[in-house]
């Protein structure tokens, strides 16, 4: 960081904790950025002329006579078209080996959208994955997380969706990624469609956990630039929001705040909502869609992080291993997209809602039949047929490695209905049966 003449410089820290330090520095603004021996820090508390700074990369090795430079500005970064195809760390420094770039500095973490200026989301986002497109359809401007156990391939699914989604820009906010996962994302994106569509802000597990707090704001401010200024369709991927929340709790703990449920800060709901609510459909056509990952511990969705997330987001997606085909699918029972009603049967074919419900109902019957089988009961003819149907349905349609257009998904589901079930058992409105049930 270059020093400039008007910047204030201090050399006397009065107090150092694991994540913060304090010093006497009059005239400093709240949330102003500072550098302590080159480490980025932000003002989190001012009492009189005593200022407390949160040091993002940690305070290890700081001495009380460290040089502290205040920038006089709230967090800013150079946002512009030049970001395209690049990967950065939490401080906006390139990590892809290419040179640093200059650009117009813009504020990070700016104001919220006026709710009356928002437009109701109505554009379908297709991913090629039937568990999403057919059963839990995504709409641009939506925010939805994957609730996944740490051993599930959520990052692979996320990158697959990103590769298939028809959007203008993909912004990856990686928090606590392993270096391997970072390279996986980078390679698969660059391989997938060249570099221009993707921008990454990456904090890996090698970095300090507190640095993660900067990632979502950078990703979302960049998304706002492309969606609002350029009217682009932007998809933001945030993984893993559980590690982000953990970082929040570390800071609040260091600030001596009283923890609420599960040792999380009392403001967790507001902190998460501030980020997720950046998902928006702007009146001029641009939009921001957020796909996030919240890892669970032992599948517990009552923990404060998934619980608060569920109240904020517009649905949630669960992954599940379908044992009958040994493949991962998007769980048709527990997953929910709250906004799907806005598009299914409207932007998609009119038989979509009925086909979706009928297939899920049969899939549920198959689950019951399987329980019966496991408990040693005899299976009826219907049971045997729904089991067959379920196997084909998950293998040929739901499996996440199958890539289909929505019309194909619907057509193939009709074929499965015909192959295994009778018209009565499918129970779909006569008008659709007349069209799609081929004799």
């Amino acid at each position: 960081m270059e020093t400039k003449s008007f910047q204030k410089i201090y050399y006397r820290l009065s107090n150092i904790t694991k994540a913060t330090c304090s010093l006497k520095a009059p005239g400093v603004g709240y949330e102003e950025m500072a550098f302590i021996q080159g480490r980025a820090a932000q003002v989190v508390k001012i009492i009189g002329d005593e200022v407390t700074l949160q040091v993002f990369s940690g305070t290890e090795g700081l001495s009380t006579d460290s040089e502290v430079i205040f920038t006089g500005e709230s967090p800013r970064m150079a946002i512009g078209d030049h970001l395209e195809g690049r990967f950065f760390n939490s401080f906006g420094k390139p990590i892809d080996g290419y040179p640093i770039i200059e650009g117009t500095l813009r504020e990070v973490g700016g104001p919220s959208v006026n709710p009356v200026r928002r437009v109701q989301p109505s554009q379908l986002i297709t991913t090629g994955i039937a568990g999403i497109d057919m059963n839990n359809t995504l709409v641009s401007g939506q925010k939805i997380p994957f609730f996944a156990d740490p051993d599930q391939p959520y990052n692979q699914v996320l990158s697959m969706i990103a590769l298939r989604a028809k959007v203008d820009k993909i912004i990856l906010g990686g928090m606590g990624l392993t270096w391997d996962d970072y390279l996986f994302f980078k390679n698969s994106f660059e391989h997938g469609y060249g570099k221009s569509k993707i921008i990454g802000f990456i904090n890996t597990l090698e970095d300090s956990p507190v640095e993660r707090l900067l990632i979502p704001d950078m990703a979302l401010s960049t998304a706002e630039y492309f969606a609002y200024e350029k009217n682009e369709k932007v998809l933001v991927l945030l993984t893993d929001m559980t590690l982000y929340s953990d970082a929040l709790s570390i800071v609040s703990n260091r600030m001596d705040q009283i923890p609420s449920k599960d040792s999380m800060p009392g403001s967790l709901y507001s902190d998460l909502a501030r980020l997720y609510e950046k998902a928006v459909q702007f009146p001029d056509g641009g939009n921001i869609t957020i796909l996030a990952v919240t890892t669970l511990s032992g599948g517990d969705i009552t923990h404060a992080i998934p619980d608060n997330t569920g109240y904020i987001t517009e649905g949630q997606l669960f992954l599940r291993r379908a044992t009958e085909i040994s493949k991962v699918i998007v769980d048709p029972f527990r997953s929910l997209s709250r906004l799907k009603q806005l598009v299914i049967g409207k932007s998609t074919r009119t038989d979509h809602p009925q086909v979706m419900n009928a297939a899920i109902r049969l899939y549920a019957d198959a689950a019951n039949a399987r329980t019966k089988l496991e408990n040693g009961f005899e299976l009826t003819d219907y049971d045997k047929r729904v089991l067959k149907f379920a196997e084909d349905y998950s293998g040929k349609i739901l499996a996440i490695d199958v890539n289909l257009e929505i019309d194909q998904m619907l057509d193939q589901t009709w074929q499965l209905f015909q192959a295994h079930m009778s018209k009565d058992e499918v129970d779909i409105k006569q008008e659709f049966v007349d069209i799609y049930w081929k004799n």
């Binding site: 603004g29 508390k45 009492i47 006026n114 709710p115 009392g266 609510e277």
Partner: protein
Amino acid sequence: MNNNLYTCTGEITAIIANMVIVKANGPIRQNEICFYSHNDKDIMGEVIRTDGNYAYTQVFESTRGFKVGMKTNFTGNMLEVYLGPGLLTKNFDGLQNDLDKMEGVFLERGARTYPLDVDKKWTFKPVAQPGDQVLAGDWLGEVDELGFPHKIMVPFKLEGTFRVVEIARANDYCINDTIATLSNEAGENIKVTMVQTWPVRVPVKSYLEKLRPSKLFETGIRVIDTQNPILEGGTGFIPGPFGSGKTVLQHALARQAAAEIVIIAACGERANEVVEIFTEFPELDDPRTGKNLMERTCIVANTSNMPVAAREASVYTAMTIAEYYRAMGLRTLLLADSTSRWAQALREMSNRLEELPGPDAYPMDLSAIISNYYSRAGQTVHRNGSKGSVTFIGTVSPAGGNLLEPVTEATKKVARCFFALSQDRADSKRYPAIDPIDSYSKYLEYPEFTEYSKEHIGENWLEDIEFNRDALIQGREVYEQINILGDDGVPVDYHVTFWKSEMIDFVILQQDAYDEIDSNTSIPRQKYMLEKVNDILRTRFVLGDFEEVRNFFKKIIYILKQMNYSEFQSDKFIGFENELQKVINEKVKD
């Protein structure tokens, strides 16, 4: 804002997130509003604690860039709202800024807009006469606000008795024109316009007395009206885990409840849900009056990404507007989604004030704050004999779906109706997912309601409900037995009992919120269907085995549902009814 209005000034001495400490040079009033001068903009805040000359204030916007030494002006007034014609159809934020008047797509810091339209003309008709003795809340005249007789009242703030000196004649006026001159006991003249202000945290008390609720407040939702009724001026709350249909239920209430005025406080919830109201309400009509739904609605929207302190204020802003319309003798419904977000805002502030925490780090007085708030609802009688009401229904978002958390427990103590949303019902798509047994309405025990129901609904209404409810409970009990012993392990009667309760579930409790007819059921229709279902409950059938029981009741349920989907007493409805009778007659035991 005029500088002369400031009572004193001060300088900021400390900043901790949205709490700012200000050293003042004069007397400070608890809960008074102050303005910090930041980059030529006035940012609004509120005093929440005082210590000597130091005022602890909560800032209603972001404190980014605030510095020690910044000038602060104290107004001496508490947070107030403007009350006058033109509130309906408006979309406000928690501090009553008119969101539609704000420029740009983003909410800029320090931007404030006047909540009412200053230039709009209203056709005024005087009600009071010169010489009348009047008190605060008495009606001086009225204007037509989208078909409602919007009363222009003696401002709530005026204390004592006044004499009407002069009253404007019938004509068109703007809200700031003088429409009456009053004189107080000392003979001083006071000019009254069509707009007045009132501090939101203080209940409006310009009524003679509050009545015990007695009249059914129709919602058109069967599991509420029939099983757990809420009364006019009553209170209720809806706790439920995420995904259990809270919002769909609230929107259904806002659409079809028998209220003249609906105030919606979107407090700390998803912005897209408010957008849904903005988008859909202008296209829907009030089923009772045929007028556009938006014309009876006022929305206070402080969504989850808007400042936390303003979120806390938003519920009070909404309540004060509801009380204002109540004072005009109107039936008002206030919906707040969600009161948990409001409680969380209180918790964040209590934490910054370093108060000793209560359970789950909420402030110790949480329960008292919630009780005081709910108590502002009620049916009131005014000096001119008119009656108005505020019926309040709040949602609660319990952490982890656990109903033993502080906000739910505190609310349970004060709200008289409890509409428990159940995850199990939501998972099996039984909507609305209100659990009929866990839910309750204390109003069923009110003798006032017993009397009302006998006179207005039916002589045996309460007995019918009880009979129905017992059948539901019996069904649940045998269901457990069937699950343990297996279909073949219990007598066929058990299956009959179970399927009778399923019939209640499918026909009375479940309701299709997206179907035009089924979503909204009138009381006569609810009574008709309840009696129909109860008749079947009392009937004894001859049925061979459990498969036959299931098939028989599935058929009955199917036909009854078709009745629910048909226009009441239409040919189609009667056709299904005849078909039902035929199916029943085949299996009736003589």
